[in-house]
Symmetry: C2
Subunit: 341 residues, 2 copies
C-alpha cells in the first residue's frame, strides 16, 4: 500500500481536484455520488488520511470534544466517561478524556490545556464544592460546555444529571416501608453538591413520612470515600448500634466502607431476621453487587445521562455555541434491591 503525503498527492491519484477532495473529507455527502465513489475507491487503494493538525489550524472549531471527570480511578466516573466517549465517536467527533484527580488546580489545568485544543465543546463533570467557579465560568464563556453529574448553578449551557430527590425518596421510602426509618450517613464536608441535595431530600422525606430525620456526619477529606466511610462507621458502631437499625449512605463508595467496617466488627448486615443492621445507599456503583452483602441502592440512569449530555452538547454546537436558555435535565433513579437492606 503506497503512502500518500498530502491531499494534493491523493487528489492527483484519485483524479479529483484537491478542493473537491477537501470538501469530501469535510462532508462526504457534499459531493456528487460518482465523485464520492471515485474518492472512496482511491481511499481503498492508497493509504491516506488528512493531517489533523493542518485541518484544525484552519477550522474555527475542531471536531474535538473534551470529556472531563473529577476522578478517573472512580469506577463510577470511568463508566460514564466510557459511555460518553462512545456517543461522542458515534456523533463523528473525537473525544479527549481527562480526569481532575480530585484536585481543583488540576481541574483548571485540564480546562486550560483543553482550551488550546480549541474543542467544539466540552462535557464537564466538575469537582463540585472545591471547584474554582469563577475560572470555570470564564472557561464556559469561551468554550461551549455542558455540565453533567454535578451542577454548578448557572454555569455552562446546560446541566444533565440525576434527580437526587428521586434517589433518596425511593431508598427512604423503601427502608421505612420494610423496617425502621433510616439515619443518613454522610461526610461532614462533602466534595460534591449532590450530597447536599441528598441530605435535604432525606430530611424532607423523613418529615413528610412523620419521622424525625437523623443525619450522621463523619469526618474526612478527599476522594478516598471507602476509607472515610469505613473509619466513620467503625467510630459510629463502636459506641453500640445507632439510633436506628437502618443506615442510608449518601453514596455507594461510603457504603462500601461501611459494609467493610460492619464485617470487621462482626455486625451482620441485611434484611433477614438474623441481621442487626440494614445498609442502603445511592449510585449503583459498578461494585455494589459484589459487596458483602450485595448493596441495595438507587441506580443512576447512566445511559440516559450520557445520551442526553452528548445530544445537548451537539445542539449547543450546532446552534453556534449558545443556547436560548440554560436547561437542567434530571433523570430519576431506579431502586435496586439487593441483600444489604
Amino acid at each position: 500500500m503506497v503512502k500518500i503525503r498530502n491531499m494534493e498527492e491523493f487528489a492527483a491519484l484519485s483524479g479529483i481536484s484537491r478542493p473537491t477532495v477537501s470538501k469530501y473529507f469535510n462532508n462526504p455527502d457534499s459531493v456528487r455520488a460518482t465523485t464520492r465513489a471515485r474518492i472512496e475507491e482511491a481511499l481503498g487503494k492508497y493509504e491516506y488520511r488528512p493531517n489533523i493538525y493542518a485541518i484544525n489550524q484552519n477550522r474555527k472549531l475542531t471536531k474535538n470534544i473534551g470529556i472531563v471527570v473529577p476522578f478517573l480511578a472512580d469506577p463510577f466516573f470511568a463508566e460514564i466517561a466510557r459511555t460518553l466517549e462512545q456517543n461522542v465517536i458515534a456523533a463523528g467527533y473525537r473525544p479527549n478524556l481527562f480526569g481532575s484527580h480530585g484536585n481543583s488546580d488540576v481541574e483548571l489545568e485540564v480546562l486550560d490545556s483543553l482550551r488550546s485544543l480549541k474543542p467544539a465543546g466540552v462535557l464537564l463533570a466538575p469537582l463540585g464544592r472545591s471547584s474554582d467557579k469563577l475560572e470555570i465560568e470564564k472557561f464556559c464563556r469561551d468554550v461551549p460546555t455542558v455540565l453533567f453529574d454535578s451542577n454548578l448553578g448557572g454555569i455552562g449551557e446546560a446541566f444533565i444529571g440525576s434527580d437526587n430527590f428521586s434517589f433518596v425518596s425511593q431508598t427512604v421510602e423503601y427502608l421505612v416501608r420494610t423496617g425502621e426509618p433510616p439515619i443518613f450517613f454522610e461526610m461532614r464536608t462533602p466534595a460534591n453538591p449532590n450530597a447536599n441535595k441528598r441530605r435535604l431530600a432525606y430530611i424532607q422525606m423523613m418529615e413528610r413520612l412523620g419521622f424525625e430525620p437523623h443525619v450522621h456526619k463523619i469526618e474526612g477529606e478527599g476522594w478516598s470515600f471507602e476509607e472515610i466511610g469505613r473509619a466513620g462507621a467503625l467510630k459510629l458502631l463502636s459506641d453500640g448500634l445507632p439510633a436506628s437499625n437502618a443506615i442510608l449512605c449518601s453514596n455507594d463508595r461510603l457504603a462500601i466502607g461501611v459494609l467493610s467496617a460492619c464485617y470487621e466488627m462482626g455486625i451482620r448486615v441485611g434484611r433477614t431476621e438474623d441481621c442487626q443492621l440494614r445498609v442502603a445507599s445511592n449510585d449503583d456503583h459498578p461494585f455494589a453487587r459484589f459487596t458483602c452483602p450485595s448493596l441495595t441502592t438507587a441506580a443512576h440512569d447512566y445511559a440516559s445521562v450520557a445520551d442526553r449530555s452528548v445530544a445537548t452538547l451537539l445542539e449547543v454546537i450546532e446552534s453556534g455555541g449558545k443556547l436560548a436558555s440554560r436547561s437542567e435535565t434530571l433523570f430519576p433513579a431506579r431502586l435496586v434491591l439487593r441483600d444489604s437492606a
Copy 2:
C-alpha cells in the same frame, strides 16, 4: 488582559524577534536569561499561548504521548493510567488517554486514531490474547511504543511489567507456610498473558515445595471478572468444599467475585480458627482492602512500573525512536497480608 493572536504579535509586544520567541517556547533554556526574563514578563502581561496545531504541523514529532489501557473502568488500569499521566506531564509532554473497552477492534481503532496524532511515543497496555498482534506490531514500527502490564513477545521497544513469578511464589509460599497448599483459581481462557505466567508459576512453586498442583478453571468470557469469579465460585463451592481449604485466585477481580460468592453461601473466609476457607490473590486492586474480609494479595509496584515505563519511553524518544535492544523489566510484588488468608 489583552489577547494575542499569534507569535508575531506577541514577539512585537515583548520586544523580541519571533524566531527567538519560538526558540523560547521550544526550550526556555535555549535563550539567554535576560531574554527569557523579558519574554516571561510579557507572558505575564499578555495572554498568549502558541497554537498547538500550527506547532504540531511543523514538528516531525509532537509532544503528545498516547496512553492506552485495555479497560478504563477497571480501577487497576485507571489507577496506573493516572500515574502515567502525571509522569508524562512532569516530563513536559501531553498525555492522550484511551481505553480499549476490552475489545480488540477498538484497540486497533485507538491506535489508528493515535497514529494521526503523530505522538512522540505511546505507552500501551495491550488487551493480550485477543489483541491483533500483527497490526500492533505494524503500529510499533511507525510509532515508538513501550508496552506495559501485559507483554506481547517481541513487540514494542521495551516491556515494563510485574514479575508474575514473584507474585505467585510469595502468595503460594505464604499460604503453604501458614496452612494447606492452595488450589489455583482462574479463567479457562484468560484474556491476559499474565494469567498464563501465574498459572505456570503456581505449578512450579507447588512442585518445588513438594505438593501436587491443582488448577481450577472456570468458564466465562470478557472483562466482567468479578461476575465470572462469583459464578465460578458458586459452582465450585456448591459441590462441597474444594480439595484444599485455600484458594489462590489468579487476580483480585476474580477474588472479589469469589468472596462475594462465599459470603452469599455463608462460608466464612479468613485465617482464623472459625473460618472454612482462605482466599488469597494477586494485584492489590484498589478495592482489595474493602472486601469482606479484606483481601490478602500480592501488590503491584504501581509507582515503579509507571516511572520506569515513562522513563523508558523518553529514552526511546530521545534516541530517535529505536533502542539497541528490546528490554524487559519486571518489578517484584509485595505481599500484603490482610484478613482473607
